[in-house]
């Protein structure tokens, strides 16, 4: 009977596949990325290496010596409380990340993780960050999402374009998004200033583009302002998915239409906006195998790191970049995703 290798599906469920099946899925995953992103394929050597990583023995695998990378976070210091239900303050969480978990950096973030909410409590949030900065050695970020959806009625000041568009009220829908960008940039830059004033090292614009191209534009414009007004505060822009969803479709940054951009083009705009780090994201498809997902991910990510002038940190969290979409992550495929991202995808951090 032909040997079958243990791996998982994108939702984390266990599956056994033959060499032929794994190689076929790697090929198909790569082809999907090539088709969508118009990027180059992996070389034969890289494809073979990816197969070796998927099938190598051991529960947890690690990178080759010398290939260790650093890590940044999104809402990291809050997760011990929110995800594990352990009521620990965020400054203590940051110390736990530094002295127990060996983290290279972490961000302080509010559990209602968006800049619109944070604006009203920005100075209080800054106080927590200030306390944490006194007690930690590693770089600390403040982090949240631009989350343009929060600016629509009934939660915010502008009309909801998700309602207007299906009604055919296109002009109003586009205007609503443009108005939301202005509100978001104001809120984000206000929060950034409070964090810069207490000594933050970094500022995380997480899941940028979650509400579409206007959301991504808000992150770029805010980054541009922050790096100009508070150059001591360094910005990381993390993406929301492998392409920027075109909810508007005509918004441009640096003469480039933002909608539809894949990571290798997203990173160029992020660089132009003045960010220090780009957090690249490729979504995990729950219904496809890990070999399919990771091949697709690495094809996109390698195309991104090939052209990036700034460090690229691949988001290695639940449901993205080959990591399964499940709350309790299996270390077997998660560690394989990390190894592939670093050794073949050439990322500068996770």
């Amino acid at each position: 009977m032909e040997k079958k290798y243990f791996t998982r599906m994108g939702d984390g469920s266990m599956v056994y596949m033959t060499e032929e099946e794994i190689k076929a899925d790697i090929q198909l995953g790569m082809e999907d990325a090539i088709l969508r992103g118009k990027v180059d394929p992996l070389t034969e050597e890289e494809t073979q290496k990816l197969y070796d990583i998927v099938t190598m023995s051991g529960i947890i695998v690690g990178v080759e010596p010398g290939m260790q990378v650093v890590s940044s976070n999104d809402s990291g210091s809050d997760k011990i409380s929110t995800k594990c239900g352990i009521p620990v303050t965020r400054d203590v969480n940051a110390m736990i990340h530094e002295r127990v978990l060996g983290a290279d950096s972490v961000d302080i973030g509010n559990s209602d993780y968006n800049y619109k909410t944070v604006k009203g409590i920005a100075k209080r949030e800054a106080t927590i960050l200030k306390q944490a900065l006194r007690n930690t050695t590693m770089p600390l970020f403040y982090g949240a999402m631009p989350n343009l959806g929060f600016y629509t009625k009934p939660d915010g000041p502008v009309e909801n374009w998700a309602v207007l568009l299906p009604e055919g009220r296109i002009k109003e829908a586009l205007q609503a998004q443009e108005d939301a960008v202005v509100h978001a940039v104001n809120d984000i830059t206000y929060v950034a200033k409070q964090m810069a004033d207490v000594g933050a090292d970094g500022f995380q614009l997480d899941t940028s583009g979650a509400a579409g191209d206007a959301d991504f534009l808000a992150a770029l414009l805010a980054c541009e302002k922050i790096t100009k007004n508070n150059p001591e505060l360094k910005v990381e822009i993390g993406a929301a998915g492998e392409f920027v969803l075109g909810m508007h479709g005509k918004l441009k940054y640096d003469d480039q239409i933002i909608a539809g951009l894949y990571p290798h083009k997203q990173v160029k705009l992020v660089e132009k906006a003045g960010a220090s780090i780009f957090g690249a994201v490729v979504n995990t498809n729950c219904n496809m195998s890990f070999p399919w997902n990771i091949a697709r991910v690495i094809t996109f990510i390698k195309a991104c790191t090939d052209v990036a002038q700034i460090p690229v940190h691949a988001n290695a969290g639940m449901g993205v970049n080959g990591i399964p979409m499940c709350e309790n992550l299996p270390s077997d495929v998660s560690s394989r995703a990390d190894k592939a991202l670093i050794e073949i995808g050439k990322v500068d951090g996770l």
Partner: protein
């Protein structure tokens, strides 16, 4: 104009959101004796399918999809005005919403738009919708389809609640339930007894249209 050319023109008219071209295809179909049902399904609707796929690839954007939808609506209305409507199968009604506690309604909005473009009535309940409201809306509108979206692992449990309520009310066999959202999977659908996990808007449309074919 050959039949193939007529269908191709109808398809292109939708892809390019060109009303004049859509009417040209309709007139040509009448002149050539092409069945109008065929024109709708293999011409105009085929164009919508292409656009749906392009949207999923990030090649076109929502406003362009909406422009095309307007042309599709116009073409459908023209065809309906020329046909005995009793011949046309009712395409059904979808009740859709983002579940209680969850404000993420972008994906749900896209699904609603795309389903609507395929001639299905859509009752969009918006976001933060309690489970009972889905059930009430299905009853009120006699809907055949119920779609719920959850973007958080903390809110996807409402989808389970919906299935339970349908069971309690004896409505399980009369409505097809579809669930979606980033943390949602086919395994979750199987666990809670939903009929289908829909990965994206195209997947939802395909499921609904396939089911309608069976009716």
């Amino acid at each position: 104009m050959s039949k193939e050319k007529v269908l191709e023109t109808a398809k292109t008219a939708i892809i390019e959101a060109d009303e004049d071209m859509a009417m040209e295809a309709l007139h040509a179909a009448e002149a050539e004796g092409v069945e109008l049902f065929e024109l709708l399904s293999d011409g105009y609707s085929a164009g919508m399918k292409v656009l749906g796929d392009q949207f999923g690839m990030g090649e076109i954007f929502l406003p362009e999809l909406i422009f095309a939808t307007e042309v599709m609506k116009m073409a459908t209305a023209e065809i309906e005005s020329r046909l005995d409507m009793s011949e046309i199968k009712a395409k059904g009604t979808l009740v859709i919403g983002t579940v209680e506690g969850d404000v993420h309604d972008i994906g749900k909005g896209i699904v609603a738009s795309l389903v609507k473009t395929n001639g299905v009535d859509v009752i969009d309940l918006g976001r933060e919708v309690p489970a009972q409201n889905f059930i009430d809306a299905v009853k009120e509108h006699k809907a055949e389809f119920l779609g719920s979206s959850a973007l958080l692992t903390t809110t996807m449990t409402v989808q389970k609640e919906i299935e339970q309520l349908l069971e309690d009310e004896g409505m399980k066999d009369s409505v097809q339930t579809m669930i979606g959202g980033a943390p949602v999977t086919q395994r979750w659908a199987d666990r809670i007894g939903a009929d289908k996990y829909c990965e994206d808007a195209s997947d939802t449309v395909n499921f609904i249209m396939d089911w309608i074919e069976k009716l």
